[in-house]
């Protein structure tokens, strides 16, 4: 074996034996450094005759190339191994739980969600949202709505009153959202289309009544809207709200002082283990009250009942939320129990839209 071949064997074995990049660098310096063995061989070429050079040159250059290549390959391999080792040392327990996203934890109350749903449905039909104060006058809550002084219909509302003023008048907590109808008619020129969601109060408390609850009512005033339109709107609303293809409704004549004719509306349903399914079954469930705005109410609000007409309806937001989402206890709505709110509440990004589905 020639000296070159021997050197090559030795160097290759040294490269292969290098355990880390430092050892490899030592090998490189010993071979290819300024005073390295291969560099020394290369230097001998200058002193050679052309023939000698022709004979040895390729061998020495070949040696240099192969050693260089081998060192580079070994360096890559060592680098990879070092990285692998580092990564291995960085291993964590990926089964550790992460923090839950706040947006997944937070909840919007069913009442807020249902108000947003109602708004989406009625905005699409051209309704604005009107609001008014919770503390009302007797005039707006009763008298202007055609509840005559001393009329037994006033007793149907268990009213919360405030202490009498020096002039004998008493403010009260609105017993329904209807005073906002009055406020709307007194301040806006027809055509009027509004829905009025809000808190209402009656001094009543048992399994199905709470002293505070939520109502939404609708009001349409123009020169042509009649009972047929009212029926259509309520049918469309029920389909959209309960997200069913069809719903069977029953309009029963009833009495409210502020509408004439007045009706209560039942929807057909099937009760199935605490769940209520609409659009099927044989039960009737009362859901809302409605009617044509009473001529006296129009007059009280400065509108001529021979020129203007319209209708109104009202329902319990809490009630329709219970029906839609299978909630069985009204009182729980106001108890702020996080277990209940987490279960029946809605994720903040689940914003109801008609395009995306109200509860999709």
């Amino acid at each position: 074996m020639s000296d070159i071949a021997k050197l090559e064997t030795e160097l290759l074995s040294a490269v292969g034996a290098a355990k880390d990049e430092a050892a490899l660098e030592a090998v490189r310096v010993s071979a290819l450094g300024k005073s390295g063995l291969v560099s020394a061989l290369l230097k001998t070429l200058g002193a050679m005759t052309p023939d000698e050079r022709k004979a040895k040159g390729p061998a020495i250059n070949g040696l240099k190339e192969r050693i260089t290549t081998e060192i580079a390959a070994r360096k890559d391999a060592l680098g990879m191994a070092a990285l692998d080792a580092r990564l291995a040392s960085e291993t964590v327990d990926v089964t550790l739980p992460t923090r839950e996203t706040p947006a997944e934890l937070g909840r919007v109350h069913p009442i807020s969600q249902v108000i947003d749903e109602l708004t989406a449905i009625f905005a699409d039909m051209g309704f604005a949202v009107a609001e008014g104060p919770d503390i009302e006058t007797d005039d707006y809550n009763f008298t202007k709505l055609n509840f005559p002084e001393g009329h037994p219909a006033r007793e149907m509302h268990d009213t919360f009153y405030f202490p009498p003023k020096p002039d004998g008048s008493r403010l009260l907590l609105r017993t329904h959202t209807s005073p906002v109808q009055v406020r709307t008619m007194l301040t806006q020129k027809p055509p009027i289309r509004v829905i009025i969601p809000g808190r209402t109060y009656r001094s009543d408390s048992d399994q199905t009544h709470t002293p505070m609850f939520h109502q939404v009512e609708g009001l349409v005033i123009d020169k042509t809207s009649h009972l047929g339109h009212l029926k259509w709107i309520l049918e469309e609303f029920c389909k959209a709200f309960f997200e069913v293809d069809s719903v069977n409704m029953r309009f029963r004549p009833s009495f409210f002082p502020f509408t004439e004719p007045s009706m209560e509306v039942d929807i057909q349903c099937r009760r199935d283990k605490g769940e209520i399914r609409f659009g099927e079954g044989t039960d009737w469930l009362e859901i809302l009250g409605c009617g044509m705005v009473h001529p006296n109410v129009l007059r009280n609000c400065g509108l001529d009942p021979d020129e203007y007409q319209g209708f109104a309806w009202g329902m319990g937001i809490d009630r329709i939320a219970m029906l839609k989402y299978g909630i069985n206890d009204l009182r729980a709505f106001f108890e702020a129990d996080v277990r209940w709110l987490s279960h029946y509440g809605f994720r903040p990004l689940d914003f109801p839209t008609l395009a995306g589905g109200l509860s999709a």
């Binding site: 051209g126 949202v129 009649h226 047929g228 309009f251 004719p261 702020a336 987490s342 914003f351």
Partner: protein, 805 residues
């Protein structure tokens, strides 16, 4: 309003089934609440007789009875009722019987060591009546072993109507039959009472005496029937009254009750022997008293109407008679009263005295004035038929004739308001079957309203009558065009802020609560409220007495309740109304939240990734700012001033404002005294933002966003650490740095605050990073150093801070 089917059929000729009648009633606005069949419901409960009743050996209040239930083997039953006595016929429930009203099944059991083989029952125990004072007492001739309901004659369905307050005409079986008759499922039978002339003058005169005051009695009819024999009323009458839950008393009283329900005509009977002299109908004198038929004594005032004789008040007009002049088995001469009363006055008197009677119920809704005299005749006839006797002529004071209501009704009103057309023939027929009188032909008719329909005043009422009777089903559902404004936004700025605030807070991990708008007086006072004008006069409970001045009290209490249930780390919010006064403009929309325990915004509860940190003022501040940002507040303009209302920790709270005049909200850790007062414990941090106080967004002609200007040169960041007095506010350091060059300095952030080793006591190190954005050209090192030097000088001047060495 309750009645039986057979009673209805006395006024209504029909072949319709019970179900059809019930459906029809509901569909014409006489909503059937329920149809109860007591015979069926109480089938299992049978007549039994107590043979012996001995003292229970181990219990003072119990008796051990032997009871005959007709099987031949007497049962041993332990009973605690005070009226359990030998010989009593009562009602027995055997073991295995299910009681729906109580959801229990009777079983054989031992009561204080003595076996009891069944249960003798009170009315309340099985939901038969409200009587819970003792076991049911049955007549001595009740056949043992028979279902007791059958024995009481309750063997047919009772229909109960949930009557709306406008339909005074349907407070009677007769009126209901008339209404049903209009629907064509049967024919109304008009059983007009026979006129009775009387054979002698009525010896008692009647004067209506209201002086100059508003008269409370438009008319009053009276008649004497002499020589009657009062006693139990006949079986059919007793059964009819029992079926609808009335207790038969004696024939004379039963007749008045019967006519009240049959015709909606309340009457009163006086024992003529107990009435002294003539009758005066007048206002009560303040302080006058009456011992009424319910055994209670009422003190009256001049707002109330009474019937008095020469001794004093004998009857509370239209509401309840007096005990003294009441009729009993010894009554021989009876005075029958049929009168009209002021409806509002009856309602007020009844309410004031707390008396609810069948008479009041009808008079306050309005009775048919034209039936005052026929009602008197009908009662007279029934008295003569059932008790014998001879009737006097009637005395009529005042005039019952009502003012006639005539409505000018264009037939076009029906399609205009109801969207449905009916033929003129159908319109007339429907109205006439309801008792209206329609005159004229063609497109406009005149409609006379019958005297029993005081609720009908105008055209809309006529439309209602027609729609009601032909059925709302006949009104075609008509598409409602969504109108010219259909694509415009419909929410007001406050509504938009409200919904954005809710979503923003929920997105920060808070849970939305909806709490009562009222709190206790003490809670209101703790949060700056408690004004007398915001305290309810009739709160439903003491802890719900005052309108809330803030949402925080309820939220803190709610958080505590959750903590008490084992959920210590809760984050709750509410967006809702608060009240600073009783005017509409004093009502504000607050967005408030509380975080308790470890309910931090970046994660609730303990977690392996970091040491547990309780909530603090900065969590509340971040929530408040999140609401403000979501609701569209101008964030650059907001200032934070240390301190807040007294319910916050004075050193760990802040006020968010745009100048001292416009406070948008507060945040902070709750004051320990407030927590102690609410019996809550912390750590607890909260905030309150008033959504109305945000400045309105400027109206913009387009929706285009401002042009984006991208700087051509790289920004440079320089860090500074200043040592300042501990009390110096970080915001002042940042503002001082910012103010050095508002154009070049585009951002200042505080990235470190340090107190401790290396820093003199009483001082702190505040490190800020200043971002410099070169505008026209790249800045040289000298230029940047010069700016940095200015920053150091300015901060030093404003805050006394020196660059940390």
């Amino acid at each position: 309003m309750k009645f039986t089917l057979s009673w209805l059929k006395e006024h209504f000729d029909t072949v319709a089934s019970l179900d059809e009648i019930v459906d029809k009633l509901t569909m014409i606005g006489l909503e059937v609440e329920r149809v109860e069949d007591k015979a069926k419901e109480f089938e299992a409960f049978k007549v039994a007789q107590i043979i012996t009743a001995e003292q229970h050996p181990n219990a003072d209040r119990l008796r051990v009875c032997t009871v005959d239930n007709g099987t031949g083997t007497p049962l041993q039953i332990v009973c605690g009722a005070p009226n359990a006595r030998a010989g009593l016929k009562t009602v027995l429930g055997l073991p295995g019987t299910y009681i729906p009203a109580k959801d229990i099944t009777l079983a054989v059991g031992k009561i204080r060591g003595v076996e009891s083989q069944g249960m003798m029952i009170s009315g309340a125990e099985i939901g038969f009546s409200s009587d819970s004072d003792g076991i049911i007492e049955l007549p001595a001739d009740a056949p043992i072993g028979k279902p007791f309901a059958e024995v009481l004659g309750l063997n047919e369905p009772v229909i109960e109507i949930n009557l709306t307050p406008n339909r005074s005409d349907c407070t009677s079986v007769n009126g209901i039959a008339r209404d049903l008759g209009a629907t064509l499922i049967g024919d109304y039978k008009e059983n007009a009472p026979k006129r009775i002339a009387g054979t002698f003058p009525c010896p008692v005169k009647v004067t209506l005496d209201f002086g100059a005051t508003h008269p409370l009695c438009p008319a009053f009819g009276l008649r004497l029937v002499r020589g009657v024999k009062n006693g139990p009323s006949p079986d059919w009458l007793q059964k009819r009254l029992t079926a609808i839950g009335l207790r038969p008393i004696n024939a004379l009283v039963d007749i008045t009750n019967y006519i009240t329900f049959d015709r909606g005509r309340p009457l009163h009977v006086f024992d003529a022997k107990k009435v002294k002299g003539n009758l005066t109908v007048r206002r009560a004198v303040n302080g006058e008293t009456l011992k009424a038929l319910d055994g209670k004594t009422y003190t009256l005032d001049a707002a109330m109407c009474v019937i008095a004789d020469e001794k004093g008040v004998e009857s509370l007009a239209g509401i309840m008679g007096g005990e003294e002049s009441g009729c009993d088995e010894n009554t021989i001469d009876v005075l029958i009263e049929s009168a009209l009363w002021d409806a509002v006055n009856i309602a007020q008197t009844g309410r004031k005295l707390g008396i609810n009677t069948d008479a009041r119920y009808r008079f306050e809704r309005g009775v048919d004035p034209n039936f005052m005299i026929p009602g008197l005749d009908l009662a007279t006839q029934m008295v003569i038929d059932l008790c014998g006797g001879e009737a006097s002529e009637a005395v009529i004071a005042g005039d019952p004739t009502p003012k006639e209501t005539i409505i000018d009704f264009p037939l076009s009103e029906l399609p205009r308001l109801a969207g449905v057309k009916l033929s003129p023939v159908e319109i007339r027929r429907t109205l006439e079957r309801l008792g209206f009188f329609a005159a004229g032909s063609g497109e406009r008719i005149k409609v006379a309203v019958p005297s029993w329909r005081p609720d009908v005043h105008g055209r809309a009422d006529i439309v209602e009558e027609l729609v009601r009777i032909v059925g709302v089903d006949k009104v075609p559902s008509t598409p409602f065009p969504s109108g010219p404004d259909a694509r415009k936004p419909v929410l007001t700025p406050i509504q938009v802020r409200t919904r954005k605030a809710k979503r923003a807070l929920a997105a920060r991990g808070l849970t939305e609560a909806v709490t009562w708008s009222f709190v206790s007086k003490r809670e209101a006072e703790l949060f700056g409220g408690g004004k007398p004008e915001l305290a309810l006069a009739n709160p439903i409970a003491a802890e719900l007495s005052d309108m809330r001045p803030s949402l925080l009290a309820s939220l803190i209490l709610s958080a505590q309740r959750n903590a008490d249930r084992g959920y210590a780390d809760v984050a709750l919010f509410e967006v809702g109304q608060i009240f600073k006064g009783d005017k509409p403009e004093d009502q504000f929309t607050a967005a408030s939240g509380v975080r308790r325990g470890l309910a931090k915004a970046d994660g609730i509860g303990r977690h392996w990734s970091s040491a547990p940190k309780p909530v603090d003022v900065f969590d509340a501040k971040a929530d408040a700012f999140a609401v403000l940002a979501a609701a569209g507040a101008p964030m650059q303009a907001l200032q934070v001033v240390p301190g807040g209302p007294v319910w916050f920790h004075p050193g760990r709270s802040g006020t968010i404002q745009i100048g001292p005049q416009n406070i948008l909200g507060h945040f902070g850790e709750m004051h320990p005294r407030i927590l102690a007062a609410l019996k809550a414990d912390g750590p607890l941090a909260g905030f309150e933002v008033i959504l109305e106080n945000l400045p309105a967004a400027k109206a913009k002609p387009t929706r285009a966003k401002p042009l984006l200007e991208l700087a051509a040169f790289q920004p440079v960041e320089r860090d500074f650490a200043f040592v300042v007095e501990s009390k110096v506010k970080a915001a002042d350091i940042a503002r001082a740095a910012q103010n050095v060059d508002k154009k070049l300095i585009v951002g200042v952030t505080v990235f470190d605050v340090y107190e401790g080793t290396g820093i003199e006591p009483g001082k702190k190190s505040v490190a800020i990073a200043v971002t410099i954005q070169p505008r026209e050209k790249t800045m040289t090192d000298q230029e940047i150093d010069a700016l940095a030097a200015k920053i150091v000088t300015e901060v030093g001047k404003r805050t006394g801070g020196a660059l940390r060495g």
